[in-house]
């Protein structure tokens, strides 16, 4: 289908982007990679009056190390995350997970920040942000603030971003050198959204995060506590008491079963 009419403006700075958004009366959307926004427009699920194209804002792009953090600019393409030496060296979970984000042509254009801001419950990057204790930096009409990933994802496509706020960069602390990582997802076609997915960090500060199972990436405290007792214990404890959503293809019961098999196999591979 074709999108309905909208106006278009290309901005050169974060300040301009925030100002134009503030002036738009809620009628505008930020356009980063557009790999989810444009389909939504083509399906006419969304009909904004104005797109504010961020792609010329070079300050929003790039990956750097700042002390004990890796900083990823919001406009950094998935393809850059995929091949960046700092990510490979310090955040191997992200390096592995990003290869599962859609397909090459989409990773060439889609952005890390866009994926977090969209907060698709079945997407890989929000789950990794949670597993890696990311802190999300935003700028809006009332200035700048930062939000821990734990508080950022509020529901299906819902985040802690206030109206008019732009996600600018993401700070990820370097994991403990003893930490290990694991990533798995089950899809009908390589690159599709996950029926069930898992991003985990094992070691001193274990984190087990599911995606594709509920309305947001989901931290599993029960599985985290059981990790040290081995794959079977972690699988038995996984998703206990957690409300899992079924979808068109799988019931909640099926998804819980798939997820428990997934975490057991993943941990067996890791140990």
């Amino acid at each position: 289908m074709k999108a309905s009419h909208f106006d278009y403006v290309r901005v050169q700075s974060v300040e301009d982007a925030v100002r134009v958004m503030a002036d738009s009366d809620g009628e505008a959307r930020f356009l980063a990679g557009g790999q989810s926004l444009i389909p939504a427009l083509n399906f006419r699920l969304d009909r904004p009056g104005l797109l504010i194209d961020l792609n010329a804002v070079t300050a929003l792009s790039g990956i750097r190390r700042e002390g004990d953090h890796i900083v990823i600019g919001a406009l950094t393409r998935h393809a850059e995350v995929e091949r960046h030496p700092l990510i490979a060296a310090h955040l191997p979970l992200l390096a592995e997970a990003v290869q599962h984000v859609a397909h090459s042509a989409i990773r060439n254009r889609g952005t890390f920040g866009g994926s977090l801001a969209l907060a698709d419950p079945a997407a890989e990057m929000p789950a990794c942000a949670l597993a890696l204790r990311a802190v999300i930096h935003v700028q809006g009409p009332k200035g700048r603030r930062s939000i821990p990933a734990d508080a950022f994802f509020e529901g299906s496509y819902a985040t802690a971003l206030a109206p008019g706020e732009l996600l600018t960069e993401v700070h990820i602390p370097l994991p403990d050198p003893a930490a290990r990582h694991g990533f798995a997802e089950l899809t009908r076609r390589r690159g599709d959204y996950a029926m069930a997915g898992l991003a985990l960090m094992a070691g001193p500060e274990a984190r087990v995060v599911w995606f594709g199972l509920a309305d947001r990436p989901l931290r599993d405290l029960g599985a985290e506590a059981a990790l040290a007792q081995g794959p079977h214990a972690a699988a038995a404890a996984a998703l206990d008491g957690v409300e899992v959503w079924g979808d068109l293809h799988n019931s909640a019961e099926t998804k819980v079963h798939l997820a428990r098999v997934m975490i057991r196999r993943l941990l067996e591979r890791m140990t």
Binding site: G34, N42, A105, I106, G191
Partner: protein, 152 residues
């Protein structure tokens, strides 16, 4: 809006509504090898090259191509790949073929010889509704090996 860019090596100026996709714009400019399938980034038939990388032509706006270098399947410089597709009959209805060629060309430029699993993985973003995948993978594999002198 007025958009100035290079299309298959030629300086090009078009008028585009903001909502017009880049895929529609290049078709309107005469390069109809770019096919519109799903228009939401799933099928891969509209894959183009923008500033050297493969992108979905349906998920980029024509106005975003200002100043860019855009290459369609007509401008794709990969005669060996195109010939291999013909030789292996790696197309049935041919609708997906431009996207398959653009996608495969990017993989083949990566500087190593991909195995069949990697070729399948890289092409997984393109649908062939005739299910001609076997011959497509055969073609890409053959070109990959030939370019690296592994096989004639």
């Amino acid at each position: 809006m007025r958009v100035t860019f290079r299309l298959n090596g030629e300086a090009t100026v078009i008028e585009a509504e903001p909502r017009q996709s880049l895929a529609d714009a290049v078709r309107a400019a005469g390069f109809t090898g770019t096919h519109h399938g799903c228009e939401h980034g799933v099928c891969g038939a509209c894959t183009l090259r923008v500033d050297g990388v493969a992108v979905r032509g349906c998920l980029m706006l024509a106005v975003q191509a200002e100043g860019a270098e855009v290459v369609t399947v007509e401008g794709l410089d990969a005669p060996d790949l195109k010939a291999a597709f013909v030789r292996h009959n790696a197309l049935q209805c041919g609708f997906c073929t431009p996207g398959m060629l653009m996608t495969a060309a990017e993989l083949l430029e990566s500087g190593h010889v991909p195995d069949r699993a990697e070729i399948r993985d890289h092409l997984s973003g393109s649908y062939c509704r005739c299910t001609g995948y076997q011959a497509i993978v055969d073609s890409v594999e053959e070109v990959a090996q030939a370019r690296h002198g592994a096989k004639p």
